[in-house]
Point group: C2
Chain length 331, copies 2
Amino acid sequence: MRIVLDAMGSDNHPAADVAGAVMAAREWGDEIIIVGQEDVVRRELAGHDTAGLKLEVVHASEVIEMDDKPAQAARAKKDSSMHVGMNLVRDGKADAYVTAGNTGGVLAVATLHTLRRIPGVKRAAVTGIFPLPAGKVVVLDVGANADCKPEYLFQFAVMGTIYARDALGCENPRVALLSNGEEPYKGSLLVKEAYGLLEGSDLNFIGNLEPKEVVVRQADVVVTDGFSGNVFMKTLEATAKMLTVAIRDEIKAGVVTSLGGLLAKPAFARVGKRLDPKEVGGLPLLGVNGVVIKAHGRSDAQAIKNAIRQAREAVRGEIVEAIRQGLAREE
Amino acid sequence: MRIVLDAMGSDNHPAADVAGAVMAAREWGDEIIIVGQEDVVRRELAGHDTAGLKLEVVHASEVIEMDDKPAQAARAKKDSSMHVGMNLVRDGKADAYVTAGNTGGVLAVATLHTLRRIPGVKRAAVTGIFPLPAGKVVVLDVGANADCKPEYLFQFAVMGTIYARDALGCENPRVALLSNGEEPYKGSLLVKEAYGLLEGSDLNFIGNLEPKEVVVRQADVVVTDGFSGNVFMKTLEATAKMLTVAIRDEIKAGVVTSLGGLLAKPAFARVGKRLDPKEVGGLPLLGVNGVVIKAHGRSDAQAIKNAIRQAREAVRGEIVEAIRQGLAREE
């Protein structure tokens, strides 16, 4: 397998990105193609022991930065590490692309300038894989399309089902719509219309779910527009962080509770690790003509390695071909 | 002050509701009018020491249940405790109405059958008051209107500002739009259009905020459609609960961590209490012609009492008159 890794993606690039690539190459023996400004990447690589690893460097002169306007940068910076890297996948020279860079940039470069959408796909979706205590839940869209039509949500359900089944090994995934109430008559106009489409499909559609049911994994795949999905994802992350800080502050406020906190520390660490989105890797971009994984901007080397693992799972599951066939069948 | 309390609202009615009314009457000396099936209410009241308290019982033969379809029940059950109670406010016989009943029912009875909207108000909003570590944040709409227009969001901003200022004592409240990115060009079409309206207003509008900024109170008032607001509110509650359970389970899994958990328990309890929505009371229904507070369905007596306190603050702040004037000025 050959996986392209964007050296210029993470907030801490190229250190975290390159270190993650080295870890992945060592662990799985895959070929990792590191794309970025060549001198910068080679200097970073020189600090690692890369003997025997299949690492290649491909030069890209430009970088799409976190504060670039996505559509504009995707149009202007044609030699960015995103363009060069995704074109390697498009041209069959690699199997997957992994980046921790600007989400809007990845989306624009993938759908408009390089890989493009799988024929028949109306919108690509940024897909969240939530490592909840009850297991992984796939939620899409979590950010690509702030405004959606019912038929997009239907396609998200098809793509999410395929991803859960073929990349995550979930049998007959249960699909739900994120809504403001469980009853079929609850929801926005969008949700109500999507409900009708999903009810008549051969997906394993179980109806509407509220967030409290999503977090205990009453469904395996949860479908929503990219605005509400983004609010869901970011509220979950923000609440977890806020609570952690609040508990730490209260524990530190007293001597006895401080001691208690010290003794209970391994338990906190285990919860933190289990719920850490970085442990999953990143957000698959579903609906484009190639495997693309968007890792968190704050990724460290371990998170980059996990995103590469996720890319391997998607390639192994032949996700792109499965989505192509799945959508053709549902039309 | 005279406050109407729905005896038939909470999941545990009438016990929790009546007990909360008695606590409130004792603490503040206000007159509490308890509305519900008279024999049921009087039997419940008989179990309390009510000597010297200003408690009145008003009969209502019907109850809007949690699983009733809101619009239908509001039309059919004209002698419900919601109709009878809100009519007392409409007719000037009481100053505010508090219920822990069916949210859709409260909304339908208030806007369509009894109090109705303040002239000029396009949509009433269910308003969340989040007791975050950094202070209270007002978020609206959190459930009344799944589909919104930009001008509704503008009015929510006006009403939320008035509530934060006059009921919560927040000076010059900062107003933000909930969005999927901070930049002005981020957001759904709805958010982008609302941005334009708010930017040109004399409100203290500070732009778009993501959930992570909302939970650390970078704004005092956060405006959103009722679908996304509901997702925000319920994801926050669900994540807090999920994390609490996960931490408890991990702590109990070992002897040392169990001891640590025992010692740290008071810290957890303080965090839980500080973030408990029941400590705030309930959700003000803003935009209707009277003070209406919707308490949580799972309210206990303390939560009902807190909702009554919140009603008192809204009455003291002359919220309804302030919204009437505020909207007239902004038109």
